[in-house]
């Protein structure tokens, strides 16, 4: 498994990853952080159909993210 940083929108349904960094503005980062997207947090892609919004499970809760927002969250894949 590679250890490079990829955006969360490029992960497939069912893949797990660790949050590394954000490319979005401060306000959006702040909202994401309070929902549990902090560096080091484990995320699980619950649904990603390659278009439209995706569902990501973080800290036990499901969060819908627009594709644009998801593209700005950088993660590292975790090998199962």
């Amino acid at each position: 498994m590679s250890h490079q940083s990829v955006s969360i929108s490029s992960l497939k349904t069912g893949e797990q990853a660790i949050v590394l960094s954000f490319g979005c503005g401060r306000m959006v980062q702040n909202r994401l952080a309070s929902l549990g997207f902090t560096p080091g947090a484990e995320v699980n892609v619950t649904q990603n159909y390659r278009f439209g919004p995706l569902i990501v499970t973080v800290r036990g809760a499901r969060v819908a993210l627009g594709r644009g927002e998801a593209a700005q969250i950088f993660v590292q894949r975790r090998s199962a």
């Binding site: 549990g36 947090a41 569902i55 800290r59 969060v63």
Partner: protein, 678 residues
């Protein structure tokens, strides 16, 4: 402190002065409203937080012969100033100093929901945790041990199932214990990492002595470290120049500190819940995940949504339409006759004003109540079950075309019932441009009142094709809604788009009380409107149609209609259709009533024949198109003004729809004539 009074919170209402003050805090979808409704029932007051369009709910409840005042704080994920809701919640806790803050957390989302608790504890709020949704957690395979959690956090934890009214007594007993000093908590306040603690200490040294009361200095330092804009603004005004510069340097060096603080809180939460929570076994699939494979699927989800909407409309009209007819025939008409007989000896104009003006106008609006009640109930049910987030999710792609996102879909859908709650419902949208855009396009959703006009006129002119014409009109407004949204987004907001970040709550059994209260409050608001604004406007229209000679055909209203008839003629209207259109401003369905009066109070069958004889198909089609697009009704305009706090947007909306409807009318009429329907 001049910056602060705009976010100041007014004291609780007079009636509850002197009672112990309890605040209810929690993230969205934690069952906070359910608990609030359970405790206060109808003994609650719904208003707005001063100067904000954020709903403020407070109420009184009784326990052990004592009364308590309960304030429902807005649902927020954190207490950092990302939104007005967050500022309101924390200002209330700091300034009003509630004696107990009940933090509602969900056992099914324990980690995430304790984030707000971490913030509350940093504020030194006296917290009691209501560990709600134990049943939902069980359904998803999660087990939480309340005693272990309480021991770890050092604050009381009460397990609950608010939707089944289980655990409420225990909660109140603990709350009372805290008030009487019998239950003492020793909360473990989250700390931040050692290397950052030093920086935090520096910030506190620079600011502590200048922090205005009643803000806790250590909390202010933490919020400055997190880069909170409101706190930074407050301190900028009180700090001496030297400290301000030193503070700015520190904050510049650590401008990503909010991530450090947030991570720190989650690390702390991780330690707190480690012993208390048993996660589901790997591979165990919860109910929500199974349902979402269909409900949130990009293709099947849309089919399911379409089916849901169809079902809501079907239920609404099959259940409510007969009640509406019954109300009209058994209540409104006999009531009007009864009042008429009481006024037998009164002057004719008094009889006319009361019976035709007041009762006729308000009565016809009130007969919509059954339709709205059923519609609101269906909507509230879908929302309470957790389905509405899925509807927003699958609609996100389509809403993107307009620069909006999924959350805008919900208020627009509510607009099919009535545009007024739709515009109030835009409060769920987190960014102001997106919210404003949704408010501007919401009147394009055809409400039940407009559908009544269509339902009456279409069969008269199109006979067997009436259904297709009606569908065509609805489709036309929805296509216009999408195109108009795209256009307005480009013109007003330069095509910018707000972030779509939305929690997908777990599905759960709906709570009848929550739904009932929601329907009750929305209906009451509607009835109040009928009793005030619509009553006034109905009377005004009646007076204008009566004076000066007591004959509509020579009245001021008719003269005005004749005066602007040349404009109406572009759209194929004579003065009567023009007047009917104008009187649809107080309430859309008035159009039919006005035509009834203008054609000599003919019974409805007679009116249909008279209309068919008087107007061409082209004129009728044009009239229907204009009705669909015409200026939003008076109540809608008033609520646009209220929600945008500006006459400018309300005025723009009126102008926009006036131009749109007339343009559409002119095009429709001339096309129809060209097709030979003139």
């Amino acid at each position: 402190m001049s910056e602060c009074h705009e976010i100041a919170v007014v004291p609780v209402a007079q009636i509850s002065a002197g009672l112990p003050l309890i605040a209810l805090a929690g993230q969205p979808n934690m069952g906070k409203s359910t608990l609030f409704n359970l405790l206060t029932g109808l003994n609650q007051h719904v208003g707005n937080w001063t100067g904000k369009t954020v709903e403020r709910r407070e109420g009184i409840f009784r326990y052990n012969g004592r009364e308590f005042c309960l304030v429902d704080l807005p649902g927020t994920y954190s207490l950092t100033a990302n939104s007005p809701e967050e500022v309101i919640a924390r200002e209330f806790i700091v300034r009003e100093r509630p004696q107990v803050v009940i933090a509602v957390v969900s056992a099914a989302h324990l980690e995430r929901s304790l984030y707000l608790v971490a913030e509350l504890l940093s504020l030194s709020a006296p917290v009691v945790i209501a560990l709600n949704m134990m049943d939902v957690a069980m359904q998803e395979g999660i087990r939480v041990e309340p005693e272990v959690l309480a021991a770890a956090l050092g604050v009381p934890v009460v397990p609950m199932m608010a939707s089944k009214a289980i655990g409420v007594r225990d909660l109140l007993r603990v709350v009372e214990g805290v008030l009487e000093g019998k239950v003492v908590s020793q909360p473990r306040v989250p700390e931040i990492r050692a290397d950052h603690r030093q920086i935090l200490q520096q910030i506190e040294t620079l600011t502590a002595e200048y922090v205005p009361a009643p803000y806790p200095p250590d909390w202010v330092a933490l919020k400055l470290f997190e880069g909170d804009p409101e706190v930074a603004k407050m301190m900028e005004n009180v700090l001496p120049a030297q400290n301000r510069a030193a503070l700015a340097t520190i904050l510049r060096e650590h401008d990503d500190a909010f991530l450090v603080v947030a991570s720190g809180r989650y690390e702390w939460i991780g330690r707190m819940v480690r012993a208390a929570v048993t996660q589901p076994k790997i591979g165990q699939i919860g109910l929500t995940e199974r349902l979402d494979r269909w409900a949130a699927h990009p293709v099947w989800g849309l089919f399911i949504l379409a089916a849901m909407l169809g079902l809501v409309f079907w239920v609404t009209f099959t259940l409510a339409a007969p009640v509406q007819d019954w109300m009209d025939a058994q209540l409104i008409v006999p009531f009007a006759e009864w009042v008429g007989s009481l006024l037998q000896n009164a002057p004719l104009w008094v009889q006319g004003m009361v019976v035709d003006g007041a009762i006729g106008g308000v009565g016809s609006v009130l007969t919509f109540l059954p339709i709205l009640v059923v519609f609101f109930a269906a909507f509230a049910l879908l929302e309470d079950v957790g389905y509405m987030a899925r509807a927003a999710y699958v609609m996100d792609n389509l809403m993107h075309l307009m620069g909006l996102h999924g959350k805008s879909f919900l208020p627009l859908f509510l607009g099919f019932g009535c545009n007024v709650p739709a515009i109030m419902g835009t409060r769920v949208i987190d960014s102001w441009p997106a919210r404003l855009l949704t408010i501007l396009i919401a009147p394009l959703v055809p409400c039940t009142a407009r559908m009544v006009v269509v339902a009456f006129m279409a069969p008269v002119f199109f006979g067997a094709h009436a259904l297709w014409v009606s569908w065509g009109l609805v489709l036309m407004t929805l296509v216009t809604l999408v195109l108009g949204g795209m256009l307005l987004n480009q013109v007003l907001f330069k095509g910018q788009r707000s972030a779509f970040i939305m929690e997908m709550p777990l599905y759960h059994i709906p709570n009848a009380r929550t739904i009932g209260l929601l329907v009750w409050q929305r209906s009451i608001a509607f009835v109040k409107k009928a009793g005030t604004a619509i009553l006034a406007m109905s009377l005004l229209v009646w007076v204008l149609s009566y004076l000066p000679e007591g004959d509509l055909n020579t009245s001021f209203l008719a003269r005005f209609g004749q005066f602007i008839e040349p404009v109406g003629r572009w759209m194929g209207f004579d003065w009567r259709l023009t007047v009917a259109l104008i009187t649809s401003f107080p309430a859309k369905e008035n159009a039919v009533a006005t035509l009834g009066v203008l054609f000599g109070n003919a019974p409805e069958a007679g009116l249909a024949e008279a209309l068919a004889a008087s107007f061409s198909t082209a004129s009728a089609l044009s009239f229907l198109v204009v009705t669909m697009f015409f200026i939003p009704c008076m109540a809608t305009v008033a609520v646009i003004r209220q929600e945008t706090s500006s006459w400018r947007w309300a005025g723009l909306s009126v102008l926009l729809y006036l131009v749109l409807s007339m343009a559409a009318g002119v095009v429709t009429y001339h096309l129809a004539v060209w097709f030979g329907w003139g």
